[in-house]
Symmetry: C2
Subunit: 160 residues, 2 copies
DNA sequence: TGGGTTATGTTATCTCATAACGGTCGATGT
DNA sequence: ACATCGACCGTTATGAGATAACATAACCCA
């Protein structure tokens, strides 16, 4: 409670109530539009991600899955995560072995994160990959996906 | 042997003989210069990485560690990898859970990889992170490390 | 209403990585 | 020489992360 680094304070507060309902409804709409099915386990995992304040480990989601404390079986959650990633509703952060809901509207985009080593927050941003894609093309590569993860300290932790 | 994708053909052939000895010697020199110790297990893991044709899993290194087929204990290899990463002799590729020797001369640099989903090759390159670092700074982040991993198909696999 | 496709439930197992502890080695000061 | 300190290593055990395999159920549509 002092002037130390306030872990996760203020970083991506997590959705509740109307905001959560609205986000889930939007996801549902996008699924309908693309003829995909936001089934119960998929919806539940997305809900858990949206409610959370920061990157969630798969086994955190597994533990929190049931409404009354019963955990899910691992494949249930991993399959849901695979679906959510495929549709762009969630991202995996490789360097954390953790998952976050997508914070950027719209469909396809390339993921990039600023990860605070102090408070654990992961801020998604839309990077300009022009230079790297040009380098890849020059090397003869045909790029399908590209991710970037930067580690450091967020402004709150630097100030704290 | 047809015109299919030739898995790993030609990608980072791996060092042998004089080239391998020379690379290990260069590493030794850099360690002496920085007052670090290239101990036997560290040297052995670096040797395995340099000899290899592509990204190596930790447990591949563990299995290949002994000169006569005896595996190493996991901490032996993980500690060596930690050291090699710290000094810039090796990189971890997060999206593969695998390790490669650094292919770029000199000390500190920021790692970036083009990974072929077809043949598994991982080509290291030196990207221009100017745009992303500016975005991070604009968000108030102080970046310490930054990594990029692009997935796609390499030129050989596209041609094959 | 039947047949293909997609998704789920369940069990078991596999891969990846680290905690913890005691012993060894090498440098440094006296 | 030898005490001492820190870095490193060997070993055992366990924790964390992810998937294979197979059976069952739901969906879609001709």
């Amino acid at each position: 409670m002092g002037s130390e680094c306030h872990h996760a304070d203020g970083a991506h507060p997590g959705l509740k109530g109307h905001a959560l309902t609205h986000a889930l409804g939007a996801a549902e709409h996008r699924c309908v539009a693309t003829q995909e099915r936001l089934t119960a386990p998929r919806r539940r995992v997305l809900e858990l991600l949206l409610e959370s304040d920061g990157p969630q480990k798969a086994y955190d989601l597994i533990a929190a899955f049931g409404e009354h404390g019963e955990p899910a079986k691992p494949p249930t959650v991993y399959r849901a995560l695979e679906f959510l990633e495929r549709l762009g509703f969630a991202h995996r952060i490789e360097s954390l072995n953790a998952y976050v809901p997508c914070r950027i509207d719209g469909g396809e985009h390339r993921a990039a994160f600023l990860i605070c080593d102090c408070c654990g927050a992961a801020q998604e941003f839309e990077p300009d990959f022009t230079a790297q894609l040009a380098a890849a093309e020059a090397a003869g590569y045909q790029v399908s996906t590209i991710t970037l993860e930067a580690r450091g300290r967020c402004s709150a932790c630097r100030a704290g």
